[in-house]
Subunit: 211 residues, 2 copies
DNA sequence: GGAGAAATAGGGCGCCCGACCTATGGAGAG
DNA sequence: CTCTCCATAGGTCGGGCGCCCTATTTCTCC
């Protein structure tokens, strides 16, 4: 489970990409920020593994943010204008990756995984796809891999101690009956039989932010 | 929660001290060994935080064990004959503490906490009690501190995914009714209301070996 | 365009769980 | 020597949980 933090002054874009990333099994959005200052404040608290930063932000440019953070956590620059000059500036400022906003989602996900694993993507330019290739598939604990997005959401809540059907239903905006359906499905997939064991598994699988 | 490993060729002594340590809220016995060779094998696997080693062991003396382990994990020598010569030898071999077998249990516990925190007790001789003073009280998460030994045992099992009353009863050699009594007590002390939340708490409090 | 999966919602049933209550023996504190 | 706490054990009762069904809508995939 990799925690990603998204910063973009275009709120809609930040929201959209968050949704998209959250739907990927091994990625989790730790939070979003709509500006550089907010990003610096939140990035440390949220304990993100990887930052996705837009270059063009009104209060603090992506460059400045990179310098202040000093490479920890590692950051990937995502920009509308992926030209050579910005690219070299971003690298100089400490970016671990540099991607266009038109990058396909699976490739972005792969880049996140690669950077999270400690890779620096900036030395590679033309052969980027080859570098990312080993990271194209979600790497998730077997078992959790077979869970659907919704089932993972439910399981995460259980791992946080939300145990009552009624409360789970309210948190997910669905009927209690549906909660039970999802639970039954989770039990079968993980070879367990009640929510207590499910909570244990949720934590073991790293679905819960326990830091 | 500090994991302690006990090595002593006098099995009864090892067992006894294990029982005594396990009854202390913030200590947990990771395992025991009845000889130096066994100790070296098991100490690494068990991931103990602190070793308690008897000097007088038939196959490998405590001195030799200390040298082979090289100070990690930190070890406290416990001996029947706490004379100056053995003491200096033990320190030279890398012991972090040197105690007589007649040391009171609370003091031993304090020594374990101190060494676990990175302290080296060997420089201090006469003023040992003053050094240990800050470590005399169990340092445990508030909440877990109020739990009894038995309640903690039950909670630990829950955190490992043992959820059924019947199975919990078998594991603890008590009646299902008693299990329920303990559970009710745990719920009240931790301000929770079911075993799912209890399992979450057990893990959060570090009662479960999740390494 | 038909198959399959996922998310949604519901009904019924048996059993376990949690809440509340009493009770006894042993250990430690005063 | 009491008084309190802990561990043990038991009883009752209502409600929630897990298990087995069916069903519809919306996707994606070939």
């Amino acid at each position: 489970m990799i925690d990603v933090f998204v910063a973009d002054d275009h709120t809609l874009f930040a929201e959209g990409i968050s949704q998209a990333l959250a739907a990927i099994p091994d990625l989790h959005v730790a939070g979003t920020a709509s500006g550089g200052v907010e990003l610096i404040e939140l990035a440390e608290k949220s304990r993100a593994d990887v930052l996705l930063i837009d270059l063009e932000m009104p209060d603090l440019s992506g460059f400045e943010v990179l310098r202040r953070l000093g490479g920890s956590p590692p950051a990937i620059i995502v920009t509308m204008h992926a030209d050579a000059e910005r690219r070299s500036q971003a690298i100089e400022a400490g970016a671990k990756g540099f991607l266009s906003k038109s990058t396909p989602l699976p490739e972005l996900a792969a880049a996140v995984r690669a950077v999270s694993a400690g890779l620096d993507l900036t030395p590679h330019t033309t052969t980027l796809r080859d570098v990312l290739d080993p990271y194209m598939e979600p790497s998730l604990d077997p078992g959790a891999a077979s869970l659907t997005v919704r089932e993972r959401e439910l399981l995460t809540l259980l791992g946080e101690g939300v145990s009552l059907t009624e409360e789970l239903a309210e948190r997910l905006y669905i009927s209690p009956k549906t909660v039970k359906n999802h639970l039954a499905s989770i039990y079968e997939k993980l070879s367990i039989s009640d929510r207590t064991q499910a909570a244990v598994e949720a934590i073991r699988l790293g679905l819960v932010d326990n830091r």
